[in-house]
């Protein structure tokens, strides 16, 4: 296994320029992928505002997050009054089908009993047709935004999935896509449909966070996985979970298995050929048919691109950072195109990243450094020591890219300094194709800029 810099053994006490956001942010994003849902933070309004700003800046889309707006008194005496008022007001103003609650650090610190409060709320509203309420516990002092995303996904499964086989339109497969872009979600749906698999994608913000302009504004955007479909997920034949960096109790496939007995299949985030092959094999088995020609052709084109690109890329040294599953997936892909992922870093610390990397990155190159619970100071030091040629990760690495004077290929979240974050593709043969083009072109552009005669043929 790759040597890992363990969490807590860092020399630094403080975190300088963090490489992670906080749990409720991920939870709100997941709730945005449920049809008719409004995310709701139990805590002070500042957190909601910061998270909205972050998500809105990334997706360049509206993102409402309601909030119970804690006051100092609430902080001392508890927020049950605020949560009742808050839920009532959201119900009245939005008519949502569901309200998804995530707790902030403050609510968790004062030990709010969400179960009890929601029970009381349900009792108070027993006579009304009020929206469904689902809650996830998301204290940031014990996890990152990725953990929050998974916590909310599991909360949805635990609250809603039913085994009842009488569910109309029983799904063949439930796909837990992980925290990927709307474009990747659309791609997954296309692949599942091409296999003829009746599917549930949980969550699915492919439409809600990449909406057309129509001159009219719908407060709750169209799209998202319908609540009835989440209920029906309990009767599916199997689930496929993308990714592997789940903290205990936060693997959505395992949650669905535990609750409804749905067999759980897992593949890593399918970036690159091997990762995608694994996914397509699973889907072939589930569908009982071979990979449709369209996708087989995309695979072929991808290999053609690998061939076209290898002369530019072979032996280049890249630093990859971001959410653990993203890093693992991209590192595996880099390995295929001959780029050495010299530093693989994440602000997360689920503990499984090194192992996952060992499984997909060829070890003989030897000099791969894995950083867990890392911040950008550590990443910068490692990048410098490793003489990296490229950075691959979110916009927060821009300062580093400028300092080291190496290109940054933007993937993950946040991408606040470019247009089109919602359409960045990574998954499957198509995503690898796009990523391979981008990385190769970044390298070529560098060489071209530095060529004195100004070659136009590279």
């Amino acid at each position: 296994m790759l040597p890992v810099k363990e969490a807590g053994t860092t020399i630094a006490v403080a975190t300088q320029n963090a490489c992670k956001a906080c749990m409720p942010l991920g939870a709100c994003l997941a709730y945005r992928g449920v049809e008719g849902a409004v995310p709701f933070l139990h805590g002070p309004q500042g957190c909601a505002t910061y998270m909205r700003r972050f998500l809105i800046g990334h997706f360049r889309e509206p993102m409402d997050i309601a909030c119970s707006s804690f006051s100092e008194e609430t902080a001392i005496f508890g927020g049950s009054a605020d949560i009742h008022t808050g839920l009532d007001n959201v119900a009245k103003a939005y008519h949502p089908a569901m309200i998804g609650i995530a707790t902030t650090c403050l609510a968790e610190t004062i030990g709010e009993d969400m179960g009890l409060m929601l029970h009381q709320h349900a009792e108070k509203n027993a006579d009304k047709a009020s929206p469904l309420v689902v809650a996830a516990s998301t204290p940031s002092y014990s996890g990152t935004h990725a953990d929050g995303f998974h916590a909310a996904t599991c909360a949805l499964v635990n609250a809603l999935a039913e085994t009842d086989a009488a569910q109309a339109g029983r799904a063949d497969v439930v796909c837990f896509p992980n925290m990927v872009s709307p474009a990747d979600l659309r791609y997954l749906k296309e692949v599942l449909a091409d296999f003829g698999l009746c599917h549930v994608l949980l969550p699915d913000y492919s439409e809600t966070l990449d909406r057309p302009i129509a001159g009219e504004y719908e407060r709750i955007p169209k799209g998202g996985v319908p609540i009835s479909a989440i209920r029906g997920a309990g009767a599916a034949r199997a689930s496929v979970t993308l990714g592997s960096a789940f903290r205990p109790g936060q693997h959505p496939g395992a949650a669905l298995l535990a609750k409804c007995g749905v067999p759980s299949l897992s593949v890593g985030l399918p970036v690159g050929i091997r990762g995608s092959d694994l996914l397509f094999q699973q889907l072939e088995d589930l569908a009982g048919k071979p990979t449709p020609e369209k996708h087989a052709a995309e695979r072929g084109r991808l290999i053609d691109t690998y061939v076209d690109a290898h002369k530019y890329l072979y032996g280049k040294r890249a630093v990859v950072y971001g959410e653990e599953d993203l890093v693992t997936g991209i590192a595996s892909f880099l390995d295929e195109i001959g780029v050495v992922p010299v530093v693989c870093a994440s602000g997360g610390r689920s503990g499984g990243m090194a192992e996952a990397l060992s499984a997909t990155v060829s070890m003989q190159r030897g000099d791969i450094q894995v950083l867990e619970d890392a911040d950008f100071v550590e990443i910068g030091e490692a990048a410098e020591a490793a003489k990296a040629d490229l950075l691959i990760g979110n916009s927060r690495g821009f300062g580093l890219s400028r300092r080291l004077d190496i290109p940054l290929i933007r993937v993950g979240m946040p991408v606040h300094d470019r247009i089109g974050a919602q359409r960045i593709q990574l998954l499957g043969y198509r995503g690898a194709q796009a990523l391979c083009d981008r990385i190769a072109n970044a390298v070529i552009a560098r060489d071209q800029e530095r060529s004195e005669p100004g070659y136009m043929t590279m």
């Binding site: 630094a12 006490v13 403080a14 975190t15 300088q16 320029n17 963090a18 992670k20 956001a21 906080c22 749990m23 409720p24 709701f40 805590g43 002070p44 309004q45 500042g46 957190c47 505002t49 910061y50 700003r53 972050f54 809105i56 360049r60 509206p62 409402d64 997050i65 309601a66 909030c67 119970s68 707006s69 804690f70 006051s71 100092e72 902080a75 605020d82 949560i83 008022t85 808050g86 009532d88 007001n89 959201v90 103003a93 902030t104 650090c105 403050l106 610190t109 004062i110 204290p139 940031s140 002092y141 014990s142 909406r211 302009i213 129509a214 001159g215 009219e216 504004y217 407060r219 300062g399």
Partner: protein
């Protein structure tokens, strides 16, 4: 291509304001409507009505507001480059406020420190929440010191810290003694107060108590001023610094655009305080006046006319012919360029409407810029201002202090035994006042708004949508949180917190930049494509079948 005049479907005539107000409240539960109605006023400059402001946002209503940590660490202290700011708390709060405000800074030499690109956080974990985080904070301060040897370190508390009872002030005091540099802390937990505004006040208090007045090296210069409430978004401060320099005015310190701790420490050596954003910094102006005898008045450098007016006021204050002559020369030079830009752009924008819902002063200041290109502000309001910013400081005695404001310290200030030196005598001040030259005053936004326009405080997401539907303004000014919702409705949204990656907008050059940006937005082609042709065209098949009959 459609005619540029029709790119945005402006509603004419404007809706009846009272009816519009009613429509905004319609879908609220009665209790909410009763509260919200007090935050909305149909303006009538003849009879100024009272507006409710600085009140807690109702739970479940989606607001533009942030928290007091954001106001303290993000707004007031954020733009200073050589103080290391450590956020004490879980990671999110610090992470979200890392390099997101677009305040610029310029070091004068390579030896100077600049920590703006850094975000320090104690990244509290569960064990610290349970057992207390003071030790980790102390170690983090030590670490920051060892790594950078800064002149000063500031500590900011986030919500959980107040709850678990970490004494950040004690820790800071200890470390100040130990390290021999200034270390001070802000109890700016987000649950204090009702918005960023509480954080501004907390920031003002601590700067006054721990920083201002520590400097001893004299400041050279004949006309020495501080500029308060200017945060150098998009480079605004650079424009103003240049103007002052050309006029011969010495800028001792800015709170806090392009600032240094050294400037803060010597702020008491200025002879005049000019207040830009009244909301965020008036406390410091008042306290400095009481302790050191430096008068203050309100200025506004947004808009070419306002900029000229503000420069003239400064010159009048110092009563010096040379300064007056130089100031007039600078204004004349700048106005020439401004006039050229106006004549180019005004015809393209004239008659269009604007709405501004932002901040604690910008919703007022930017109305001047729109006026200069012939655009009318039909509705405006602040995100976190108080009644005095709407109605003027004359209402200060009537403002009720509620529980949310009571928990913010009111610093008692006395005249400094050595340093108190009234720059103008009581008689001199009286003479100025007799000439309608006012000190310690701000008239607020509402008296300057036209009859029948709307003032709405702490506008909600819901109200924003309804308002846009009813008025279809040519441009809506707010922040990034509102931007995309507004634009989905087919109306361009100008970000006035971060200037949408543009700016500077202050001073004369800034005014020109703003005219150009607004022109670009309201006349952008993209808006014309929103309605697809098939929406307005009768179906060809249908026409054919009619013809057949």
């Amino acid at each position: 291509m459609p005619d540029t005049d029709n790119l945005i479907k402006t509603v004419t005539p404007l809706p009846d304001p009272e009816a519009a107000k009613e429509a905004l409240l319609k879908s609220y539960p009665t209790k909410v409507a009763r509260k919200r109605t007090k935050h909305m006023v149909v303006n009538d400059p003849a009879t100024l009505s009272a507006i409710q402001a600085n009140a807690r946002t109702i739970p479940g209503i989606i607001t533009q507001r942030g928290c007091s940590y954001a106001g303290c660490k993000g707004v007031v202290l954020g733009p200073t480059r050589d103080i290391i700011n450590i956020t004490h708390g879980p990671i999110g709060c610090g992470y979200y406020s890392w390099l997101t405000r677009r305040n610029q800074t310029r070091t004068e030499s390579d030896a100077e420190h600049n920590y703006i690109p850094y975000c320090f956080s104690t990244d509290m974990q569960e064990q610290e929440i349970v057992f207390g985080g003071e030790k980790k904070l102390e170690a983090a301060i030590q670490e920051a010191y060892d790594l950078f040897h800064p002149k000063a370190i500031a500590v900011f508390a986030t919500c959980p810290v107040g709850l678990i009872g970490d004494d950040i002030h004690q820790v800071s005091k200890r470390m100040k003694e130990k390290l021999g540099i200034n270390v001070f802390a802000f109890s700016c937990e987000g649950y204090r107060g009702v918005s960023q505004s509480a954080g501004h006040h907390i920031a003002n208090n601590q700067l006054f108590k721990h920083v201002i007045g520590r400097g001893t090296t004299p400041v050279e210069g004949k006309f020495r001023i501080n500029l308060l409430g200017e945060y150098n978004i998009g480079g605004d401060a650079f424009v103003l610094e240049d103007l002052f320099e050309r006029c011969g005015i010495t800028l001792v310190s800015t709170f806090s655009g392009n600032s240094t701790v050294d400037g803060f420490e010597r702020a008491h050596m200025a002879d005049l305080n000019c207040v830009m954003c009244h909301r965020s910094i008036n406390y410091v102006a008042d306290m400095i006046e009481k302790k050191y005898g430096i008068p203050w008045f309100k200025v506004n450098f947004i808009g070419a006319n306002s900029s000229a007016k503000s420069l003239r006021r400064i010159a009048q204050y110092f009563e010096n012919d040379e300064l007056t002559a130089r100031t007039e020369q600078v204004i004349a030079e700048e106005n020439e360029k401004v006039a050229a830009a106006q004549s180019r752009i005004r015809p393209r924008c004239e008659g269009k409407t604007a709405m501004l819902f932002v901040g604690g002063s910008r919703a007022h200041h930017y109305q001047d810029l729109f006026k200069e290109i012939g655009m009318k502000t039909v509705a405006a309001g602040y995100e976190f201002a108080h009644r005095d910013d709407y109605e003027g400081r004359r209402v200060l005695p009537d403002i009720k202090v509620d529980a949310d404001s009571r928990n913010i310290e009111e610093v008692t200030v006395e005249q400094d035994a050595e340093l108190y030196n009234p720059r103008k005598s009581a008689d001199e001040i009286a003479a100025y006042e007799a000439r309608e030259f006012h000190f310690n005053d701000y008239d607020g936004m509402m008296p300057e708004m036209e009859e029948g326009t709307l003032s709405i405080d702490d506008i909600s997401h819901h109200e924003t949508e309804r308002l846009i539907e009813m008025y279809r303004p040519a441009v809506f000014c707010a922040g990034i949180k509102e931007k995309y919702a507004v634009q989905k409705m087919g109306v361009p949204c100008k970000q006035l917190h971060s200037y949408d990656y543009g700016g500077p907008y202050a001073g004369f050059q800034g005014a020109i930049n703003f005219y150009e940006d607004i022109d670009r937005m309201v006349n952008a082609r993209a808006w014309a494509f929103i309605d697809p042709p098939w929406k307005t065209r009768t179906s060809p098949k249908l026409t054919a079948s009619y013809g057949d009959q």
